[in-house]
Symmetry: C2
Subunit: 490 residues, 2 copies
Amino acid sequence: MANKITPRAQDYSLWYNDLVKEAGLAEHSSVKGCMVIKPYGFAIWEKMQAELDHRFKETGHQNAYFPLFIPKSFLSKEAAHIEGFAKECAVVTHYRLKSDGKGGVIVDPDAKLEEELIVRPTSETIIWNTYKNWIQSYRDLPLLINQWANVVRWEMRTRLFLRTTEFLWQEGHTAHATSDEAVAETRQMLDIYADFAENFMAMPVVKGTKTANERFAGAIDTLCIEAMMQDGKALQAGTSHFLGQNFAKAFDVKFSDKSGNLEYVWATSWGVSTRLIGALIMAHSDDDGLVLPPSLAPIQVIIVPIYKQMEELQKISDAANVLMKELKAQGISVKYDDDDTKKPGWKFAESELKGIPLRIAIGPRDLENGTAEVVMRDTKSKQVVSFSELHKEVPKLLKQIQDGIYLKALKKREENTYYPNNWDEFSEIMKGEGGFAWAHWDGTAETELKIKELTKATIRCIPFDRKEEKGQCILTGKPSEGRVIFAKAY
Amino acid sequence: MANKITPRAQDYSLWYNDLVKEAGLAEHSSVKGCMVIKPYGFAIWEKMQAELDHRFKETGHQNAYFPLFIPKSFLSKEAAHIEGFAKECAVVTHYRLKSDGKGGVIVDPDAKLEEELIVRPTSETIIWNTYKNWIQSYRDLPLLINQWANVVRWEMRTRLFLRTTEFLWQEGHTAHATSDEAVAETRQMLDIYADFAENFMAMPVVKGTKTANERFAGAIDTLCIEAMMQDGKALQAGTSHFLGQNFAKAFDVKFSDKSGNLEYVWATSWGVSTRLIGALIMAHSDDDGLVLPPSLAPIQVIIVPIYKQMEELQKISDAANVLMKELKAQGISVKYDDDDTKKPGWKFAESELKGIPLRIAIGPRDLENGTAEVVMRDTKSKQVVSFSELHKEVPKLLKQIQDGIYLKALKKREENTYYPNNWDEFSEIMKGEGGFAWAHWDGTAETELKIKELTKATIRCIPFDRKEEKGQCILTGKPSEGRVIFAKAY
């Protein structure tokens, strides 16, 4: 199998596109801006879903399903919300086709909708319109609901997984009796995202608050996790919004508290999407293909028999079967690749392309010695392991890979994190490889936009763990109370 | 809790609507024809999904995801297909809104799509357009793919779960090198549906072939499973289509066989939807609420403490905790309802409404005696079980309920299955309670439509297991080779 992937050093962007294609993760469809998620890409999404869903349920959330369509008037009810989404809405105007009399079909002009329907770009409006009927009393709160769904935001320039017109995601929508409780929920869900990113995706993230400029349309506060990709750019991997009473007011959702007073309900929403697959690819992979964390790899171990005669294959298969049973009993997913139309070299390259964390090769000489050759995908390091130790060694090595790629990504981030104190230092960073620049900012949207104009860098977040530190804005010299993180972003 | 459900005998249709509402399964949304699936309803769907998905994967299928939108021209490529779906298509014509200058928004006339997009009513066309690039050689076959998705078919008259404009489903789309293989796949998937319906939903089904009239638009053959509801009507619970080479020809999908000849690919598609939840409700439930098969019940066992003093509650809770651990260890889902704002009577009624298969009540006297009162939801039968036996007794009772409701539904079906030999007998059945009428038919679409016009009964299927039996069509008296099943249907 020839490697068809452009090296990162040559063209990072092309490397990403090649990798998504060659590893069989996704492709562009015939519908502009929409992608086809191929089975291997979807298998990764299913593993992400399962783990996130488990965490949502553990924290008391239930899944439900709300309509794909939103009446146009609903979107307009929250002013900032419609302002944010109006420009990217797919609009359904008719509900029937008819024959054009020439073998084709046309839209039936008699089937025009009285009110146009918007394909949901996000579901706050339709959900809060529903919650109105579900919430009367404090006894109905909190309402902790999540939905797994497709959403549509019209995009002109698309990148597979990172920016597509249709994408898959989950959106949590919760309702609370107090502001404090909603704020705590907002933070809890961000912490779940961060924990998932770090411990499952092996991707270190910074937690913080968005500036007003980068806030979700309709939110009081947007919390986010930001990860650094291998090219030094930032990727927003998840957001959690404190919506205050904005949507409750827009849809008139009140509850009677214990004293019988009517109050508006407090809200949060939070989501992650198939964008995480793009982040996963860019966080760890190399010029030979994907590098997947064992926690999310659809296949964790591949066993490749090396043989000339069928007799040898039989013996190897017998040994492999025993090992597979032992590994599967530990919940490890294993593939035995005995396809005899392909050579071992091809299978090795294929398993690297697919990012299978561990590759075990067994040849006739291994059988004689009671050993196997084990190769780790991330470091490519080889080792010979005694066959009787393999079932104990494999989970250890998988853990080692999981930890290893996390630490590697963390080291990369640390090496590309800077603390510029003036404009020259700052712009020098943004001219070069990029990275995270912790810098002082005067707190105004104007300065933020000016910096973006000059360098393409945006404020990724005001990190939770920043120190109080008096300083001067890198652009205006005005006073600042602490550093924020600037980076060029996906 | 007062029972707000209309009795079946009074109004079956209202009973269904009341039950869906009161049990918290779903409700109509503000978007005409679209439903909100509420957490309890969605939890049942998740259990269905998990089990079906497992069966699909066991038989070698992989999940993927294809676009929500289908270019209008794609739909027209298969003549019968567009004929079948044109009248129920939601059409996206624009991709942007803009301010109307008065605080509202209007559709931006400058953002009109060159080609309209159809919200998928089913995905054969977009998928076969994609398969064109995935299939070149016999080595690429079979291609066994499934998608879990939402689809839209515009409906004027809707019923929750049974007939809604948007619904959730899975759609399998497979590609094969030979007709035989595709036919076998079509049958395999129908068998999986039937097995799921009978063993998980506890709902007996008849397997058979649809007549040309009732066939999927674009199929050569449509296989189906048909279930009888408590009112004697039929409900189509799943379909599996042999598509022949129709879509391969429409989208020019060819493969080179082992001799290098180019051949069109053979196709199947198959699906079940959230309609199954409607079937589940109508198959087993009664005037007090849902009756759920333990295999699909989100909560299988509820434990209700009966107490006056908090001291008593403490002792009961201790005992309940031990039992819960024992049951959970066996994979049984248990809820301990110690909410002290509600009385036991209310909890009993609520657990009946929700269809929780087993209810265990523990009072102070039970504790003294080392027993508990166990009530089965389906038969309402009560028994006193020794506490030390409960962990063994509960799984047995759950099995008994699962089997019991299946047998009850089967008996009901048998009692309402008839073999009319002439028009008088036939029309008598269709005037009354309905049921399945195995009757002779002359094989023409004309007669089929005439019978529908006269009685509202349609041919549900030509059952696989019908005997060869010469007879005369109940309407025309023309010769027939065997009986088909007529029924009024949902």
